[in-house]
């Protein structure tokens, strides 16, 4: 019940991000969700794409360092307190959220959030036990 996210290292340089989007566009890869963590010197770009293998190959050929990281995509009720309910469960179970970001598409009335946990399997177990729907990677990439 995990999804794969790809991350790349970017220097903080003018136009660097658009180079990445060009490479992916040329390779016919669709970006499904994206988050950029940045510092004054560099950034880490995290991506959920429709075709990991193609994206990884295209980026590596262009000289980027690419890493795959397992993440969890969970359905969140799109109403006040929806996200809080999930975070509350995790906090009580002692699970840390390393980072999270929102997925572009909705699933019915729900928003989709991408989570990176320190204890990924425990997190998935707690969430499923409590009725939170987790979206499998294969479904997520083409949603």
């Amino acid at each position: 019940m995990q999804a794969q996210q790809i991350s790349i290292f970017l220097e903080n340089k003018m136009g660097r991000l658009s180079e990445v989007t060009k490479i992916l566009s040329d390779a016919g890869v669709n970006i499904r969700a994206l988050a950029l963590a940045d510092t004054s010197d560099f950034g880490v770009l995290r991506l959920i794409v429709d075709n990991n293998a193609k994206a990884e190959e295209a980026l590596k050929t262009s000289g980027f360092t690419v890493k795959k990281t397992p993440v969890v995509a969970a359905l969140v009720n799109d109403r006040p307190g929806g996200l809080h309910g999930i975070l509350d469960l995790l906090t009580k179970a002692g699970i840390n959220v390393e980072y999270m970001y929102a997925f572009v598409a909705q699933s019915g009335d729900n928003a989709v959030m991408i989570f990176r946990f320190d204890k990924i399997e425990e997190a998935v177990a707690i969430l499923t036990e409590n009725g939170v729907e987790i979206i499998d990677g294969n479904k997520l990439y083409t949603m």
């Binding site: 991350s7 940045d38 510092t39 010197d41 990176r116």
Partner: protein, 433 residues
């Protein structure tokens, strides 16, 4: 194996007798043929006849790179152009290029020295030598080439550049000896990996690397990545080119300096005073057999020390330690002497960090700021920003601890720091002093 047993294992006393005779002959010729030396000797109130022992050498004035530049192009030649058969020149990246000449006998001497060097580095007649030093005005390519032929090995004159083709040649021709600059050898390793070629499947036994300072930890990395034994070679075009000194593959501990052709001294770079064996300072070399371009007490600007202890390989010639830096590479950061090689050693001790780095020096509000750019590798890249920040902080604190200087580390994208196919450009100094 030793190429020239008679000279390379000669007892000290006999060697010194030869040195003195050759030194005196060189001084007389330089005095007679090169106006620069004649006026330098005159200024110091000395004549070649005053040099009666090897100790007297220290009475002679130094020659520096600027002297060679002042006499550009052929002013330092000690023979008529009729007798010069080859001309090489330095790149001139730091100013006027320096031009050196060789007589037919000089070329022969150089080939002999390079044959000795390659043999010390593990080569024999049966070896195929992949020579990736640049051919041209730079002495590296042709120096190795003539030595390899003198030895009777098969040399592939592949020169620098066109790295993908080099990998194919290494795969198909199965060379057993690699000669290249250390930074280019790692570049070759990267290219091979990208092409799906493993050095484990290649045939290399030894590599002879030089033309730029490199650290022990870089040696370890080269030996692992290229699956060969790496030895260090030293030389400079002003003296002859590569083949001034060489490590033996048996000990890999210090470079035997061919004292039947060169007399080494170590001096304090500030005072010019000669230092005893074992002490670290600037290497000064006097050539004692060269005809076209003799150099007398030439200041190499390379920092090293000399070790007279006998070596397990049987050679009796003094060993110079691996060059730890250059007097002109040395950066003074807020009063602390910093050599790029020291930074490199610190980097290589951190798991996963590759020796691809660059030092940038700026001066802000009268304060020196040293920035160390380090490339991220597959091993050091983490998806989490805090891990990357931890890596920068580790490098910063290790450098501070080892060198006593504060630096700021900037992580860079892989392959974003230029790999020169010759010498790596390690330092960008933007201070306007």
């Amino acid at each position: 194996m030793i190429f020239n047993i008679e000279y390379e294992t000669m007892p000290r006393e006999a060697l010194e007798a030869i040195q003195l005779r050759r030194l005196q002959a060189t001084l007389s010729r330089a005095n007679a043929m090169v106006p620069f030396y004649r006026s330098k000797f005159k200024e110091s109130g000395i004549t070649p006849q005053d040099i009666k022992s090897l100790e007297d050498l220290r009475r002679l004035p130094f020659t520096i790179k600027q002297d060679l530049r002042d006499n550009y192009p052929f002013g330092m030649f000690a023979v008529p152009m009729d007798n010069v058969v080859r001309i090489h020149a330095s790149s001139g990246t730091t100013g006027q290029p320096t031009v050196v000449g060789y007589t037919a006998r000089d070329i022969d001497t150089w080939a002999e020295l390079m044959a000795r060097a390659l043999t010390a580095g593990g080569a024999t007649r049966g070896d195929i030598i992949h020579n990736a030093y640049g051919y041209g005005l730079f002495t590296g390519g042709l120096g190795v080439h003539y030595g390899a032929e003198k030895l009777g090995a098969s040399v592939i004159p592949v020169s620098g550049g066109n790295t993908r083709r080099q990998v194919i040649i290494m795969k198909d021709f199965k060379p057993s000896i690699l000669t290249a600059t250390p930074s280019y050898s790692l570049h070759l390793a990267e290219a091979a990996e990208e092409m799906g070629v493993s050095f484990k499947d290649l045939n290399f036994r030894f590599g002879v690397f030089g033309a730029e300072p490199w650290s022990e930890s870089m040696r370890k990395e080269i030996e692992e990545k290229l699956n060969l034994k790496a030895v260090d070679i030293y030389g400079l075009s002003e003296v002859i080119g590569p083949g001034v000194s060489i490590e033996c593959h048996e000990a890999q501990k210090g470079l035997h300096l061919f004292e039947d052709h060169f007399i080494p001294e170590i001096i304090d770079p500030d005072t010019g005073e000669p230092l005893p064996y074992g002490e670290t300072g600037e290497l000064v070399i006097t050539s004692i057999t060269k005809e076209a371009f003799p150099v007398i007490r030439y200041r190499t600007r390379d920092i090293t020390s000399l070790n007279p202890e006998p070596c397990i390989c049987g050679r009796t010639m003094v060993r110079m330690n691996k060059v730890s830096g250059r007097t002109d590479d040395m950066l003074i950061i807020r009063g602390v002497n910093v050599f790029p090689s020291q930074i490199e050693s610190v980097l290589m001790e951190i798991e996963g960090v590759e020796p691809h780095y660059q030092l940038e020096v700026d001066r802000k509000e009268n304060l020196d700021i040293l920035t160390v750019k380090v490339e991220i590798s597959d091993k050091t890249f983490s998806d989490e920003v805090k891990e990357l920040q931890r890596l920068s902080a580790t490098i910063e604190s290790n450098i501070k601890e080892t060198l006593g200087v504060s630096v700021s580390v900037k992580l860079a994208e892989p392959k974003s720091i230029a790999r020169s196919e010759g010498k790596a450009a390690r330092v960008i100094d933007r201070r306007k002093l």
